[in-house]
């Protein structure tokens, strides 16, 4: 028995035709985050620290749907959520409805370590973030042009999209989009 690690950047209707300029940055980010996690395990960091470290890296990468690059609500805002759990003690921490916290996963860790609770949401979670002194920024930091475009398309199609439904490129728009249920839930 030895150490092991696995990570994901989201699942959904990821088209096999995903262009290289979308695929390569994500693959490079997965490699980078994997290396960070492996190095931490080799340095005998506790798995809780390892998973927090790796998810922070993924949150900071704009190409994944968390932290910077989070998708937008119907009102064009960002609401982020996260959770962390320790296997042996089953201690856990969770947060929802965050709009200014740079790394939601670290706030979830603080809920686990510094409160008698498991889950804080919305205003309470934001107030706790300020009290704990975690890094906060203006909400606009999390909003990317790509996700503004995706929200526009989702509204036009009057649907929701899971991770990785790709924005229809403007030149593709000339063809009538073949969006159906599948392509929308991607």
């Amino acid at each position: 028995m030895g150490w092991a690690i696995a990570l994901h950047g989201g699942a959904g209707d990821i088209p096999l035709s995903l262009p290289a300029d979308r695929r390569l940055p994500r693959e490079a980010a997965l490699h980078h985050c994997l290396e960070i996690g492996v190095a931490a395990l080799k340095a005998r960091r506790h798995p809780l620290d390892v998973v927090e470290l790796v998810v922070r890296e993924l949150e900071n990468h704009p190409n994944f749907n968390a932290g910077k690059g989070s998708v937008l609500t119907s009102r064009g805002t960002v609401e982020m959520e996260a959770c962390i759990m320790d296997g042996n003690s089953k201690k856990c921490g969770a947060v929802s409805g965050l709009t200014t916290v740079v790394n939601a996963i670290s706030l979830a860790r603080l809920v686990m370590d510094n409160t008698p609770h498991i889950y804080l949401g919305f205003d309470g979670a934001e107030a706790f973030a300020r009290e704990q002194g975690v890094e906060i920024v203006d909400s606009s930091h999390f909003i990317t042009p790509e996700n503004i475009e995706r929200l526009k398309q989702a509204k036009e199609a009057d649907s929701v999209q899971i991770d990785y439904t790709q924005p229809i490129q403007k030149d593709e728009k000339s063809e009538s989009p073949t969006g159906n249920e599948d392509s929308q839930i991607g």
Partner: protein
């Protein structure tokens, strides 16, 4: 959604998941990620982080089900995770998981899942489809 699960050489396990949710979701909508036993779970047998359609993962208590099949039915990590993904609606669920023995599994029933894993005995993978 992004997530990570890890186990050290002493069998200590942890899981973490973070997300922005759905494009065009209602304000105030909570997904599976922060719900213990849905998108995120860890005990002394395994650690699981799920991704996909949050409402499906919550209804299916996906991550706890993987642990429960190991705990109550004695399934291996791979068998338990594959069974849970198989039993949930097609196109809605993917997960990464590790066991206290250092096993890794990354099944999904969507078109693709951005994923990566590594183990101490030298296995390593980065994949999408």
């Amino acid at each position: 959604t992004v997530g990570c699960v890890a186990v050290d050489k002493n069998g200590n396990l942890a899981a973490a998941t973070s997300t922005g949710g759905f494009v065009n979701k209602m304000v105030g909508r909570i997904g599976d990620t922060p719900i213990i036993g849905a998108g995120t779970y860890a005990n002394n047998l395994c650690a699981v982080s799920a991704t996909g359609r949050g409402e499906t993962i919550i209804r299916g208590t996906v991550s706890r089900d993987v642990a429960a099949l190991m705990e109550y039915k004695g399934l291996s990590l791979k068998e338990a995770a594959a069974y849970v993904v198989e039993c949930n609606p097609r196109g809605d669920v993917g997960l990464v998981a590790v066991s206290a023995k250092g096993e890794v599994t990354m099944p999904f029933n969507t078109t693709g899942m951005f994923r990566a894993c590594a183990t101490e005995d030298g296995c390593s993978e980065v994949a999408i489809w």
